[in-house]
């Protein structure tokens, strides 16, 4: 027996996002595939944790039949970092809160649609890591029924040339497979990423006060739990349940100046204010944020202020987060 000769150059792995119609059914070869501008990724193999059955008395060695794999409880993750284009942003909005049309709005009533296996659902994504399979012939990794559990969008004047960066964590309860599937005629995302250097003057702002920001970011997170296992061959789940609300948090790191004094009243007075950042083609806004323990930082050449916040909705039908991108 000799070593296998195939290997996987990182640069030879391409991630395609497939649009789904039914939860639990992967996008097919000729389905709708989009190729966003991915800069980093990780994916899962069909692996499962090992559970150990109770130890028999009078034996001090563990027997093979005590080991039980639990793919029936397993969730699989994929992390993707993308350049922040309009298409990539809206695809994330569709996947996480079912709104992929600008202005994509997260509200208290938002959901990812029906999360029951085999139900109609156009928000889920199939992730096809073409070239990521370990098998010599089934050279792709296919993960389907994927939903975002964490999404971060951020701009930093000192990182990634100021480009908007999207960090997305997908989760699925469907067991990934290695497959020979290739994406037929994927739509390439050729859009230009948004850049902090292109922000409109007086942006970003909190309570309509302009902040000279070195960086800002917003994260949306939620928890998904798999619902059991409807059969023990492929370990198909009955679906998912969302076990936490959408939590929207963010921060701005900006020059400590008179604007800080002007918004200071909202630092500790149970007062919600608005956050907004725009460059004319991208507008990210949270109409109701509460600032969470903002502090100065005088560790560099001039003093900065970090303003962490959490976004809320003013009412059950109001907007928590809006992303308008074109």
């Amino acid at each position: 027996m000799a070593f296998e000769t195939n290997f996987q150059p990182r640069s030879g792995i391409t991630l395609h996002h497939g649009t789904e119609i039914t939860l639990g059914t992967a996008t097919l070869t000729g389905g709708g595939w989009n190729t966003y501008q991915v800069t980093d990724f990780s994916f899962s193999h069909a692996s499962a944790p090992l559970e150990i059955a109770p130890q028999r008395t009078a034996l001090l060695g563990q027997l093979e039949n005590q080991g039980v794999h639990r793919p029936d409880t397993q969730m699989y993750e994929a992390s993707v970092t993308m350049r922040g284009t309009a298409k990539a942003l809206l695809a994330c909005g569709l996947n996480m809160w079912s709104d992929g049309i600008t202005a994509s709005e997260l509200k208290p009533s938002s959901t990812s649609g029906s999360l029951k296996h085999a139900a109609s659902n156009t928000s889920g994504h199939t992730l096809l890591f073409e070239g990521g399979g370990s098998d010599a012939t089934n050279s792709s990794v296919l993960m389907w029924g994927c939903f975002l559990t964490n999404l971060t969008i951020k701009q930093d004047i000192g990182a990634n040339a100021g480009e908007l960066t999207i960090e997305a964590t997908y989760t699925t309860a469907y067991k990934p497979i290695e497959s020979a599937l290739v994406a037929t005629s994927p739509t390439l995302d050729t859009g230009a990423p948004f850049n902090i250097l292109s922000l409109s003057s007086d942006n970003p702002s909190i309570a309509a006060q302009p902040l000279f920001a070195h960086s800002w970011e917003i994260s949306v997170s939620r928890s998904l739990e798999r619902v059991g296992c409807s059969e023990y061959t492929n370990h198909t789940p009955f679906g998912y349940v969302q076990t936490s609300p959408y939590e929207v948090t963010g921060s701005v790191v900006c020059k400590r100046d008179d604007s800080i004094e002007d918004i200071g009243a909202s630092f500790n007075s149970n007062t919600a204010v608005a956050f907004s950042v725009t460059d004319g083609t991208l507008t990210v806004s949270c109409p109701d944020i509460m600032i969470d323990n903002s502090q100065p930082d005088a560790g560099s050449g001039y003093a900065m202020q970090t303003i962490p916040f959490r976004a809320f909705a003013a009412s059950a039908t109001a907007v928590i987060l809006s992303i308008a991108a074109s």
């Binding site: 569709l94 709104d99 992929g100 049309i101 202005a103 156009t122 039908t317 308008a324």
Partner: protein
């Protein structure tokens, strides 16, 4: 701009609505009769949507 669904929107087949066009959430909210923020609706849907009219008051009128 904000839009509301006209009666004709509800009669469209699912594949011609926002449900299959990338926003099941907008579709649901339109069916509920809510005003929905849409930057630029596609031509095919415009006739099934009603644009919110801004109420502007003349000077002196309160």
């Amino acid at each position: 701009m904000k839009y509301k669904a006209k009666e004709s929107y509800a009669k469209l087949s699912l594949d011609k609505t926002y449900y299959n066009m990338g926003s099941p959430a907008k579709h649901e909210n339109l069916l509920k009769g809510q005003w929905v923020e849409i930057t630029s609706p596609p031509e095919s849907l415009l006739k099934h949507l009603q644009l919110e009219e801004k109420i502007t008051r003349k000077k002196g009128n309160k």
